[in-house]
Subunit: 347 residues, 2 copies
DNA sequence: TTTGACATGAGGTACGTACCTCATTACGAT
DNA sequence: ATCGTAATGAGGTACGTACCTCATGTCAAA
């Protein structure tokens, strides 16, 4: 049997009430007694029965997910996954609130976070690009004792408590190796596409990608990033222009998750067998592009795992428990048509 | 607030005691009352507070992991992971016993399982090759109401309750695509190695591999599988023989997890840049082979996830709860030197 | 010596569920 | 009318922890 409070009391020669006071850090216990009780607890390897404690406390873990509201399929999938986890989490005393925020407006984001700091949440998971405004808001939250984890998009660990997501430099490197090996030995060019290079993530991926391409595949020249800004016309024009300018494009690398326009352009105007296409995030669209062969590989991260991991981490932070690094590490997944079946749907 | 037993009682117009009888399937309640109570419970969307129930019942989940005792690094990593999970699981009313069994002796396996069926465990996770003896033993366990999940090595779902592991045909296909695309366009041969083709897993991987190679890369001829049976000399001789016989070997595919001998042979006798090497399972050995460049890709599955998933599934089965398919699906992971850093260590 | 502050003990109630005993009711069979 | 039985209610204790009140103890300053 695991030791309980009465066992510590007996061991330390005090009453259960005193043990309770010590364990819960309440005042009115002399230093000597505190250390005797602590020693007894350590000696017996006491661990509080969390579920009994939570039952007694009527504890509820209240957490909020703050994510961009008008994103593409990735953000949508993320929201779905949060809602799904929310319904399951209810059985584990965890209430999850989904807070979509206008992504382009740092002030709206800060307002939302400020409101949260008033509303007695136990933890916040946030996906947002780093800005000075955000940094300050997060710092404030931490000062009020609310744990904050960043998901998908990195925030410096000095600011938030934890980051749940992949290493984007390594992801870019991975894309690079696949690109280099899939594209063959003939010299040629690689076209790189991104929604916007304002995003940290895109910059990191590009840098990892370039690193590998330069070192391992110098016969492939990586062209400057074309920024799409979700403008279909602009993207189409830019791609077509580049393809006309260079007749030796062997591959296309799409850094960010919005690829609808890319796929459309490709399937309309060109023979997709001519070059290797690698993209990020296994959205429904990218999934079908893999199936049809328009895309050759997708580098992705498991959204369900990210959400569950964020919840576990926030719960652990809230209980001041250690987190299980192995379980919380998000892996860079490589998806080809062939292992697609075995990968979770985003639905 | 979530509804509790008194709420159901009020709703159904009966006493809490009767609700208790109904919810726990005890006798002495008329059919009409049973259905009225059930209806009330459904109407209020009642879900039993598992932790309070477990507290009241002093419940312990007792589970056993039955795994091969003298395996290579993979089995060792599995054992480590089980022990690690065991220590954490204690805080969640879960006791995990690790039972290593002589892999080559089906009778020993059956004896162990039989002993388990006497010893009041709540669930069993087992990694073992399918044999008629095992099938019968597992069927018996299921008849005594003990949930059994197969891990890593498939057992038919008609026999056990669940399988935690990857689809080996898809894994073989994945290896095939990587091999085909990495090896280039020149015609040549692919050498295939396995510990033993007695193993279901190896056969499935090979069949997936062949499927892709035939359809997508017909210029590459896949040679018959060389079976190593963990005999270093034999493996070295076979590899050297084959390499001498065919001067156009472009790739080596190692189906099973024991690759020490393969790596040794390669690093001793040949220029490893000449061919692509793809292996399974990210064991410490394979990890270092990736780092040095001896191996080009490793197809793997996350052992920690497998163990945790098996525990969750067994707990769910034991409580007759639904399992969360998305969370329990094990993904086929592709590991290259570049995304190695981001993948869990096996230690 | 009194006072007061502080340390500790004793004992209770609560959380939501399980499970037990005993009492009561209803109803059909005798 | 009486009895037996099945159905139900009433009320308790327990699980391990939290948190509350009140009583009692100790010791030092006034």
């Amino acid at each position: 049997m695991r030791p309980k409070i009465v066992d510590i009391a007996r061991e330390a020669g005090v009453s259960p009430a005193t043990v309770d006071r010590v364990l819960n850090g309440r005042a009115g216990v002399s230093d000597g007694t505190v250390s005797r009780v602590s020693a007894a607890a350590k000696k017996l390897a006491y661990v509080r029965d969390l579920s009994a404690a939570n039952l007694a406390k009527k504890r509820m873990y209240r957490m909020a997910f703050v994510i961009p509201e008008h994103g593409g399929q990735f953000q949508q999938a993320l929201a779905t996954e949060v809602l799904d986890s929310a319904s399951r989490a209810l059985n584990e005393r965890t209430e999850i609130e989904l807070l979509p925020v206008a992504a382009e407006d740092p002030h709206a984001l800060v307002r939302t976070l400020h409101a949260l700091s008033e509303s007695a949440v136990d933890g916040i998971a946030i996906m947002a690009p780093e800005t000075p405004l955000l940094r300050d808001a997060v710092r404030q939250l931490k000062e009020s004792g609310i744990p904050v984890v960043a998901i998908v998009s990195t925030l410096p660990n000095t600011i938030c408590d934890h980051f749940v997501g992949i290493d984007n430099i390594a992801a870019g490197k991975t894309a690079g190796v696949l690109m280099g090996r899939f594209a063959g030995r003939a010299p040629g060019k690689i076209l790189v596409l991104s929604r916007s290079m304002q995003s940290h993530d895109s910059v990191e991926r590009r840098s990892g990608f370039d690193d590998v391409m330069q070192k391992q595949f110098p016969h492939l020249e990586v062209l400057p990033t074309i920024e799409g800004h979700d403008d279909a016309q602009r993207i189409r024009r830019a791609i077509n222009q580049t393809l006309q300018l260079h007749n030796d494009v062997h591959g296309i690398y799409s850094l960010s998750s919005g690829n609808q326009q890319l796929g459309d352009t490709l399937s309309q105007c060109h023979n997709t067998d001519d070059f290797v296409v690698i993209a990020h995030e296994l959205t429904p669209y990218n999934r079908s592009a893999l199936e049809t062969g328009t895309f050759d590989a997708v580098i992705t991260q498991n959204i369900g795992h990210i959400v569950r991991s964020a919840i576990r981490v926030l719960r652990a932070k809230s209980d001041r428990l250690e987190i299980h690094r192995g379980q919380e590490k998000v892996r860079i997944e490589i998806v080809l048509k062939e292992n697609l079946v075995a990968v979770n749907h985003v639905d």
